[in-house]
């Protein structure tokens, strides 16, 4: 049986780090902060490893099926006997897998940051935030209650906000952090309403209960939910769709992806951890967590998920080909890869063979975490070295940064899907799953994989080959690759990126807990691998040496290139909606209305009282005879009233 204490400690250790460093870091443990944070995370990672081993190999499997365990559940806030927010821990294949990913990448980032962030003024704060993030992410992963998930969902959002805005005196960082928070917040609204809808019909927030009640089409709950419709769709569909919106926001799916490229304003290790490996896949994880509901009760939503994922994947890939900021390229690449995971879920269905997409998605999540974190950390090393994010400032760095160069290459090969690197295996599975159920998506995915190879190697060649185009200052050269603490994570991750593909993932993770047979056809891989190689060669041809081919190509593509370069003007659209519509058409009128109409009415009441008072002053004329006329007049009037009128 799972050990609740051990599992609970996994998130609590980083939390302890957050509290410790947050309260006392700035004053008392300025220098030791990084070590403390890293040590705590190391503990956490070891516990996660232990838990994973325990689960997968000791007690998790009962009768060939991996079970779900809830070793701990504490009522946090009870709304009624049935309905309550619980704080619990759920142990099942995907949560354990995520535990591993999160703790491992987080540990890598912790170690890496020891070098990367050295000398920062807010070094302890940085580690505190990392701790907070890790805690929140682990809490999210382990959530046994959908509201608990929402809570940690928000917490990872705020951690992301804090870390993106870590360089708070940079206006662009502040703007990016705000954007990230607000956009995801908007999506979370969907999540929240989705929760409300689902919980209303299922009568519970608890994942197990909720899923159990909503996945049997014969149950009263489902019948009720299907019976109540809104705009032609059943309540259940709405609920699931809204929940997916939450996931899409966090996972930067089109069109809610606009925050992700900007989020690269944060320190690079943070991008590696949050905006590549862990938080952004929370949306995928959410869909996976509720997969039974999506696949059994609301297939329509699942189809939407598939399409959103596919569209995101290709759009992001196209945009990535045109960007010049290396972190942005990686960001779009992340978005593209998450699109893969998403549509993999979308093309999957529940149980057995048909659940391949699910397994593939999780697999890709796992491998992607490795190589994308590696890419970011490598990029971090480069940036650390040249003090610039722009590709034009880089070139020919393979000699100066040999380890970085090597690991980066591994990662590029992995993401490009070159066998036998990790990305190859997971991507193949995804393509297979798509091929089996939705050909259109399959073709999109195929093209995307070619594009992926192209833009990754564009990046690779521009950075490490090409001719140096910018001046590297002496100061920049001084610290070289950044020492052991920065290189160790790179190497470890490179090992992961290279070898993770050999893990028999289907054994462990599947929709129904039973082992899934991987049907690996060499012939099927031919097309994607060939496309990938073509992409690499194209990149080699265009970017290995400085030349004007890219410019010519861009010119020949014309409008398409321009649109892609400007990220298809989605940012501008958002800007228009917020600045012009929300601020000018709603906010400003509301404020004006309040000041001038509502408040104006109040003031008017007061002012008119004074005016009336001024107007009637002539009755108090000081003329005693006029007073007497009033007197007599009043008497007569009253007499007439009470003798003749009201009698």
């Amino acid at each position: 049986m799972p050990n609740a204490t051990n599992i609970a400690l996994i998130p609590l250790l980083p939390l302890a780090g957050f509290i410790l460093l947050g309260l006392f870091g700035r004053k008392y443990i300025k220098n030791g902060a990084g070590l403390i944070g890293t040590a705590l995370l190391l503990g956490s990672a070891l516990l996660a490893l232990y838990t994973a081993y325990d689960y997968f190999f000791v007690y998790g499997k009962v009768d060939g099926v991996y079970q779900q365990f809830v070793p701990l559940k504490i009522t946090w806030l009870a709304f009624s006997k049935e309905l309550s927010i619980d704080m619990g821990l759920v142990i099942d294949p995907i949560s354990v897998m995520m535990l591993l990913v999160v703790t491992f990448v987080s540990l890598m980032v912790h170690i890496y940051s020891l070098g990367y962030m050295k000398g920062e003024e807010r070094f302890p704060t940085y580690y505190a935030f990392l701790g907070l993030f890790t805690f929140s992410m682990l809490g999210l992963v382990l959530a046994s209650n959908i509201f608990q998930m929402y809570i940690f969902w928000e917490l990872v959002g705020v951690s992301s906000f804090l870390l993106i805005g870590f360089y708070y005196d940079k206006p662009s960082a502040v703007a990016a952090s705000k954007k990230a928070f607000i956009v995801t917040r908007f999506a979370d609204l969907g999540f929240l309403v989705g929760i409300l809808i689902l919980s209303y019909f299922s009568g519970s927030f608890d994942f197990q209960t909720l899923i159990a009640r909503l996945t049997s089409p014969e149950s009263n709950e489902v019948k009720n939910a299907v019976a109540s419709t809104f705009l032609g769709a059943s309540a259940l569909t709405w609920g699931a769709a809204l929940i997916f919106i939450g996931g899409a926001g966090k996972s930067a799916m089109f069109p809610l992806h606009i925050w992700l490229p900007d989020a690269m304003e944060g320190p690079t290790p943070v991008s590696a951890l949050i905006h590549a490996a862990t938080m952004v896949v929370a949306g995928v994880y959410l869909v996976a967590r509720l997969f039974p509901v999506f696949s059994v009760t609301t297939p329509a939503v699942l189809e939407i998920i598939g399409w959103v994922g596919a569209v995101s994947a290709i759009i992001a890939a196209v945009i990535a080909c045109t960007q010049t900021d290396i972190k942005r390229v990686l960001a779009y690449s992340t978005m593209s890869q998450i699109g893969y995971m998403m549509f993999a879920l979308g093309v999957s269905s529940y149980g057995g063979e048909a659940g391949l997409g699910y397994t593939a998605s999780m697999f890709h999540l796992f491998t992607h975490a490795m190589f994308k974190a590696l890419l970011f950390l490598g990029a971090g090393a480069v940036i650390h070295y040249v003090h610039s994010n722009e590709m034009k400032d880089m070139g020919g760095l393979r000699k100066k940064l040999p380890i970085t160069h090597f690991t980066f290459l591994v990662a590029c090969l992995a993401i490009a899907g070159v066998p036998p690197f990790a990305g190859f295996f997971s991507k193949e599975e995804i393509l297979l799953a798509a091929y089996n159920s939705n050909t259109a998506i399959y073709w999109i995915a195929l093209i995307t994989s070619g594009l992926t190879a192209f833009y990754m190697f564009r990046l690779y060649f521009t950075i490490f080959w090409n001719k140096a185009q910018g001046e590297h200052s002496a100061a920049a050269n001084k610290h070289g690759e950044g020492g052991l603490v920065m290189m160790l994570p790179l190497v470890l991750l490179a090992v992961g990126a290279a070898g993770a593909g050999f893990i028999p993932f289907g054994e462990f993770v599947s929709t129904d807990g039973k082992a899934l047979e991987s049907h690996f056809h060499l012939s099927f891989s031919l097309a994607p691998v060939a496309l990938g190689l073509a992409g690499i060669l194209a990149a080699l041809w265009m970017y290995a040496k400085a030349n004007d081919k890219p410019a010519r190509l861009a010119a020949s593509l014309g409008g398409l290139y321009k649109a892609a370069y400007h990220k298809f003007y989605i940012d501008e659209l958002y800007l228009f909606i917020t600045k012009k519509v929300l601020f000018n058409l709603v906010g400003r009128p509301a404020a004006w209305f309040d000041r001038n109409i509502v408040d104006g009415l109040m003031n008017l009441t007061g002012n008119s009282t004074v005016l009336v008072s001024e107007g009637i002053k002539k009755f108090q004329s000081g003329k005693v005879q006029q007073y007497a006329i009033f007197f007599l007049g009043a008497v007569v009037l009253l007499a007439v009233l009470f003798i003749y009128v009201w009698r």
């Binding site: 001024e614 005693v624 009033f630 007197f631 007049g633 009043a634 009253l638 009470f642 003798i643």
Partner: protein, 464 residues
């Protein structure tokens, strides 16, 4: 004879003081500095004496009657007069005709006593005149000021006019009922239209004395012109006494005409509150300001009067008690300022708190009480007035009344604002507060706070 002494003891004591003053005046005379404390002590004795030997009974063939409630009412007035003698010390010391002033004042008070005790229209009329003619003379006591004379002229002429109308009403009542004894009238009213007309004439005179809109127009002018002691007397003692007898008249005598006077009260009460408030809103002279505010207060009193039951009369008496403390405190402060600096404008009060915190607090307390803000007694007073008014389930009526409290709060706060908030480079100098004034103010302040919190006072009045 013994009965005469006990039942009429308030009047007799007062008469005694009046004659004492007369003898002092006719005899050697006395300096104001010695006379004033003497009068103050006498009035205090009078006030204390009002609490003992109270019996119920009738005299002079039912022309005069007294009950413990009436005795209490008289004592409220005694208290008010005593406070005036303390608070207006500054002005009183300066007046060259102090004995005459008190002679007139006490005569008027005597008239009020008789008025409250009257069980006969003749007594009522005579005492009403006794309560108003000397006051007109008092209004002219700033002999050198034209405004004072003008105020006095307006008062005497208006009041003569109103008593003419009253008399015509009385004559019609007499003609249609054949009696001037109040209890008998109550039995003989049959609600004929002539009686309604007579009642309206009658009512107009009350309305005049109480300053009910639109019979109120003399009020502000007279208040402004008169010496401050007279104004205080008029606005508090006069109003209070008339309010008492007004209720008695309506409840005991004109009960058969309830259908007439209830709607009339409602209409006039609303008019009074609204108009009083609207005028008070923009007054600059503190006395005029208090005049209009007192008009508005009368509107509130009418709310309770309209209840036509014991709760209403209790509320009115209680309110008058509270009102004496509050309004006299305000007049006391105004008097100190006016006598020492000659300033009567509210704008002159700016920055007053800086230089005179004690006076400011007293005035603020008084104004809060007038506005009906807790924990002052005015809150309870107003609330009970409205409670009584609510007894007849006229919610819209008490709603209007309650909303009027907002306007009144506004202008009371205007004075507070001037004192506490507004900046002023030349605020009023720190003023000397003589011992009697300070005593008076402390009594008023204590009264304002304690009358409400000591709830047995209300219960006591209710039990009378």
């Amino acid at each position: 004879m013994n009965e005469l002494l006990t039942l009429m003891k308030s009047e007799l004591v007062l008469t005694g003081i009046i004659f004492l003053l007369l003898f002092i005046k006719i005899g050697k005379g006395m300096k104001n500095e010695t006379l004033l404390p003497l009068v103050q002590v006498l009035l205090l004795v009078n006030f204390i004496f009002g609490f003992v030997l109270n019996k119920e009974g009738r005299l002079f063939g039912d022309m005069f009657y007294t009950t413990s409630l009436i005795a209490f009412q008289k004592n409220i007035l005694n208290l008010g007069v005593y406070l005036i003698s303390l608070l207006c010390t500054d002005w009183l010391k300066k007046t060259p005709h102090l004995p005459e002033f008190f002679l007139l004042l006490l005569s008027a008070l005597l008239g009020m006593f008789f008025m409250i005790s009257s069980a006969n229209l003749l007594i009522f009329y005579l005492s009403l005149e006794l309560a108003s003619i000397p006051v007109a003379a008092m209004a002219n006591f700033d002999l050198d000021k034209k405004r004072s004379a003008e105020g006095a002229m307006k008062m005497i002429l208006s009041s003569a006019f109103s008593s003419g109308i009253l008399l015509f009403g009385i004559s019609l009542v007499y003609g249609s009922t054949g009696t001037i004894s109040l209890p008998e009238i109550a039995g003989r009213l049959d609600g004929s239209t002539l009686q309604v007309l007579a009642f309206i004439f009658f009512f107009a005179a009350f309305a005049f004395k109480l300053s009910i809109v639109p019979f109120h127009l003399w009020t502000a002018d007279v208040y402004e012109g008169s010496p401050i002691a007279t104004t205080a007397f008029l606005s508090v003692i006069s109003k209070g006494s008339v309010a008492f007898i007004f209720m008695t008249m309506l409840y005991r005598v004109f009960q058969p005409l309830l259908d007439t006077w209830y709607p009339m009260l409602v209409i006039l009460s609303i008019a009074t509150m609204v108009i009083g408030n609207l005028f008070a809103l923009r007054q600059q002279n503190i006395k005029r300001f208090l005049a209009f505010s007192s008009i508005a207060q009368v509107g509130f009193i009418l709310v309770a009067v309209s209840s036509n039951d014991h709760m209403g009369s209790t509320a009115v008496i209680y309110f008058v008690l509270v009102y004496i403390f509050s309004n006299l405190a305000a007049f006391g402060v105004a008097s100190v300022i006016a006598e020492q600096t000659g300033k009567e404008r509210i704008d002159d009060f700016k920055g007053f708190y800086k230089t005179n915190p004690f006076l400011s607090w007293i005035l603020a307390l008084a104004l809060f009480s007038l506005a009906g803000v807790p924990p002052t007694a005015g809150f309870f007073g107003k609330l009970f007035l409205l409670t009584a008014g609510g007894a007849r389930a006229a919610y819209w009526f008490i709603t209007v009344a309650a909303l009027n409290m907002i306007i009144s709060l506004y202008y009371y706060l205007r004075v507070v604002r001037a004192m506490f908030m507004d900046k002023n480079d030349t605020p009023i100098e720190p003023l000397k507060i003589s011992a009697p004034v300070r005593l008076g103010m402390i009594i008023c302040g204590a009264g304002i706070i304690l009358t409400g919190l000591l709830s047995w006072i209300y219960d006591y009045i209710h039990s009378l």
